[in-house]
Symmetry: C2
Subunit: 246 residues, 2 copies
DNA sequence: CATGAAGCGGAGATCCAACTCCGGTTGGCC
DNA sequence: GGCCAACCGGAGTTGGATCTCCGCTTCATG
């Protein structure tokens, strides 16, 4: 294990995790859990929390039996609440995504109203993404996967529009050079997601270091070579990636 | 699909792929295939090639039956040559790794003898890694996984020593700023691996763009902030990551 | 060319994780 | 309290993947 060097890394991570946990509870007892008998609604919430823990500890290979056991309910209950294991995972992804989108909305709304020297909205959003993802490592495989349910698709579009706006702001304030595209940001997020998942067990904060390098790579520099390989358009961002196969 | 923009991307990729294919054949007919009857050795080679293709097309979930079918042999033959499916995958990883190590040896040996403005050995090696990995997407999950067989472990150590040397050279020639550590390079490679795999189907060259950004992030820049999160040591590089779970 | 050790194919045994089914129980409304 | 729809548990089914087994065939050697 890593002993959390650097600034307040551990503290911010803990906060993000707590937020997400609260969000999971909210999702469980909120709209999706309405119309259920009290015991049923509570079991639904327990299942989501159990799944969240199980996936964080064992990755998405954690078995449904394990999840039911942790939640203290039977298999039947699990499958009455969630028609498939995938549905359960999607629900969790939803919670993660919601947190990311919410933060991006606030960050974008804040716009360029920042003290000079403060991190740009783009930077802030990317670090927030990392934190939320680190708090849910193991549940990330469904994030940004192609062809999500339509309502989720709409919200994904919104997120990337916000990111695009923040990218423009960052360029305007000189934090990012003009040739950087939304696709570049997208690629960084995809890579960040994998890195968070891969290093979660051994060095849960190291993704920050990677993200700093990438952000440095976005920054304008006098003698910098232009990027040679131009991505044509943002179709990748708009359509997402196919389901992971590993 | 992507239409291979920028420089000679397609050409270099094709070369790397051909190299790797040849390497696969060599591995099959070489030392590992010695002592086998002619038909058996040939079947071994066919199996490796079939597995290589199947994994590239369908990811590591490609079934053993599919591999045997492609190779034109029966299941029995597959399992007589390779005790488990994992063993087969490890053999392929071995081939990929061999190509990477070989290139790193040459690149490191060339040292600082480069025309000014030419890419550093580090840069060249990273691009080569990307090319080889892109030519074998789907077979990468076992690469750099923790606790490989001892002989492989030794070679992994060698690779990262070479990378470390090239990192020093790059710092000396001003291509990389001093605070960048071997762990940073390692993280980039891990991220690159995932990115190559994730984007292989839709934008097989886009990893180049990502890698350029990272390399730009490594480059010295006058007003650059120092990286805040210091990795303590290179234990991650030395020990590798645990098996992926996705 | 005769011999047998090594190799071959592929049906089916085995394993494992997701999912279903149903007899018994519980919560909420009258 | 009484009723019943909704809910619960968990043993068992299903499906899909890996791996084994054995009667037949092929290669290499004397």
């Amino acid at each position: 294990m890593n002993d959390s060097r650097g600034r307040n890394a551990a503290a911010t991570t803990a906060t993000a995790t707590a937020d997400a946990s609260a969000a999971a509870t909210a999702a469980a007892t909120g709209s999706a859990g309405k119309g259920l008998r009290r015991d049923a609604a509570e079991n639904r919430a327990r299942l989501l929390r159990a799944a969240w823990e199980a996936f964080a500890e064992q990755g998405p290979d954690a078995g449904v039996e394990e999840i039911a056991r942790r939640a203290g309910v039977g298999m039947g209950t699990l499958y009455r609440r969630f028609p498939t294991k995938d549905a359960l995972i999607n629900e969790l992804s939803e919670v993660i995504f919601e947190s990311i989108l919410e933060h991006a909305r606030m960050s974008a709304a804040l716009g360029a109203d920042r003290a000079p020297g403060q991190p740009s909205g783009l930077e802030e959003s990317l670090f927030h993404m990392g934190e939320v993802m680190a708090g849910h490592h193991g549940c990330l495989s469904r994030l940004w996967q192609a062809s999500p349910p339509p309502d989720q698709d709409e919200r994904r579009t919104e997120l990337w529009q916000l990111m695009d706006r923040m990218l423009d702001q960052a360029k305007a304030s000189g934090d990012v050079r003009p040739e950087v595209t939304l696709t570049d940001v997208y690629l960084s997020v995809i890579a960040l997601r994998s890195l968070v998942d891969d290093t979660a067990g051994q060095a849960p904060d190291l993704w920050r270091r990677y993200l700093e390098v990438v952000l440095a790579g976005f920054r304008p520099a006098p003698g910098a070579r232009p990027l040679a390989y131009q991505p044509a358009d943002d179709s990748l961002v708009r359509h997402g990636l196919p389901k992971r196969r590993h």
